[in-house]
Structure formats: structure tokens, C-alpha cells
């Protein structure tokens, strides 16, 4: 059964994230790779190639991996260097949206205390384990989790807002 348009848009947004992860956010062909993946996915659905609906994610991811590989091979054949990816095509997020997003991120960080930021930096950037951070910052397991998930809560709201804006702007 073919998914409704809302579902397809959800897949599109999530695929965009996966493709950006592998090809870099500033790759100008992200949308093309996503579209090609979706086209092949819908075609497979129509031909009833997905036998186990619980494996839909793995199936979609597999198609996406193939499209990314083909894209890379094509780039290699055409001898396009990484540096040329920041070319004329627009990236999926506009400059003004990026600035707006940065402001929102900066404002959210400013609302958090310096100590919280240090804990989060230790976890996310310095890749320290929870036990090590708790020991050095004299935090209990509960306090560490509160710090982490309070921050996540703020950023989840910003991210949802970003998703809404992207959906209403049609990218």
C-alpha cells in the first residue's frame, strides 16, 4: 500500500538528514539524492517488494545507501572535488534561516548556566562518560540526567520549530 503524502514528507525530511550526514550539509545535490531514493522506494512499494513492513526503515535506508554510492561514483567519474560542492545550487537551508537558527541556539544556551554548559560540553564534545563527569562536577546520576534532558527539552522545541518552518517553506 502506498503511504499518504504526509508520510512521504516525513520520509523526505528524515532522508535529508541521513543524506546530509553522509554527503555533508553543503552538498548541493542533497535534494536530488533524496528524491531519487523516494522514487525508487515508492516504485518498490507499488511492486510489493517490501514483504515485511517492520523492515521498512532498513529497506528505505538500503535504497538510500545505494543512491548515495551511485552519486559518489558519478562524482568520482566526473572528477568533481569536494571543494566544488559548495557551488551555486542552494543548500536545503537558506542563509537567513541558518542565522535565525543560530540566534535561537545561542539564546537557549544563554539561558542555561555555565556549569550546565560545561557538563554538556564534557558529554557531547569531549566524549566523557557519565561517571567521569559526575565525579569531576560532583553530580549525582539524577542531577546529570536532569541537566542533560532539560537541555534536550529546550533544543527539541527549537528543532520542532525548525521542522515546522521547513515544512511550511516547502524544503
Amino acid at each position: 500500500m502506498e503511504p499518504d503524502s504526509q508520510k512521504i514528507e516525513q520520509y523526505r525530511i528524515r532522508l535529508r538528514s541521513k543524506v546530509s550526514y553522509h554527503l555533508g550539509k553543503f552538498c548541493p545535490d542533497i535534494e536530488d539524492v533524496v528524491q531519487e531514493t523516494l522514487t525508487r522506494f515508492l516504485c518498490a512499494l507499488r511492486q510489493e517488494k517490501i514483504l515485511n513492513p517492520e523492515k521498512t526503515g532498513a529497506f528505505l535506508s538500503g535504497i538510500c545507501n545505494n543512491v548515495i554510492q551511485e552519486y559518489r561514483r558519478r562524482l568520482w567519474r566526473e572528477s568533481k572535488a569536494d571543494a566544488q560542492w559548495s557551488g551555486s545550487k542552494s543548500p536545503s537551508t537558506s542563509e537567513s534561516e541558518m542565522l535565525e537558527l543560530r540566534d535561537a541556539v545561542a539564546a537557549a544556551l544563554a539561558q542555561m548556566g555555565e556549569r550546565d554548559c560545561q557538563v554538556l560540553r564534557a558529554f557531547y564534545l569531549q566524549e566523557k562518560e557519565k561517571e567521569e563527569i559526575c565525579q569531576s562536577a560532583s553530580l549525582t546520576d539524577g542531577q546529570f540526567r536532569v541537566t542533560l534532558f532539560r537541555a534536550k527539552d529546550r533544543f527539541r522545541k527549537i528543532y520542532r520549530q525548525q521542522l515546522k518552518q521547513a515544512a511550511s517553506a516547502g524544503h
Binding site: 553543503f26 541556539v105 560540553r121
Partner: protein
Amino acid sequence: MQYHQDPLQREQLIRNYLLKRLDAGAQEAFESHYLVCQECFEELGASELLVSGLAETGVDQRRLEDVLVLQFSGPAQLTRDSLGLKSLLQGMLAQKDTKVLIDLGRVSRIDSAGLGLLLRCYSHAVHHQGMLKLLNPNAEVERLLRLTRLDEVLETYHDEQQALESFPK
């Protein structure tokens, strides 16, 4: 892996995914999952924003003898979409100093854009009849410098005093 069992465990997985520390199997499994799970996809997006915000940091400047030392004020990443890039470039281009040492001790990651920026800083220094050298790159940054043979252009040191003494008086 059960992604919904322990939020902290999931967060560690997301962190490792964002820092590209997962092996191919774990990475593929997580991608297959978030493509069909709105909750995990939102968590990934929120963490990505949080990490990008935390990685934004300013550049401190200090002068040792006649050498300008540029150093990030906190943990930083020199990647295409990080503000650390812009901060460093602004700090560098605003200078007329001819002897500049960039302390990379707090830089955990660098990509092609970051390497390009270092070259731009180098060109700027050379254009002003100056010199630019690097201090304290971590193993990963040093490996990339070697791989791209930029280490042949950008002198790298692990001892500040030694680096300062290498500049001509």
C-alpha cells in the same frame, strides 16, 4: 539495540553517531530506525543543534614576545558549519601581525573546510610577509594534516616555548 529503553543510553548512541564514532553496523541500524521513528529522529535533530551550539566558541588572543597566539576559549570544532571557523578567520584576518601561532589544543575535529581555513590564514600571513604555525593539534587533526600534506606547509609544534623560539627574531 533497544532505542527506547534508556534515554541516556540512546543519547550516548546519538552523540557517537554525530561524532561518527559508530561502526558501520550500528550506524546503519540507527539510521534504519530513525527513518521510521519520529521520536528518535527528533532526538537526533535536537542533539545535533545542541552540539552545534556547544561547539560555538570565541577565539582568545594573547601576545607572547612579538608572536600573536590565537586560542579557542573552549572546546571547538573546525568544521564547515561551525562558528569556530568564522571566529578564527575573523581573529586572523583582523591582524596585521606577521608572526602568528594558532593553538589547536581545544579543537577536537577538523574537516576539509577547517583545513581550507588554516590554509587561508597561512596565505594571509605570507601575504603580509609573515609566518603562521600551529600548536598542539590532537592526534586526529595531526593525522589529517599529514594525510593532506599540509604539515609540509604548516609547521606544527607540541611545545609552546619551542614554537615561540622557532619564529625568527
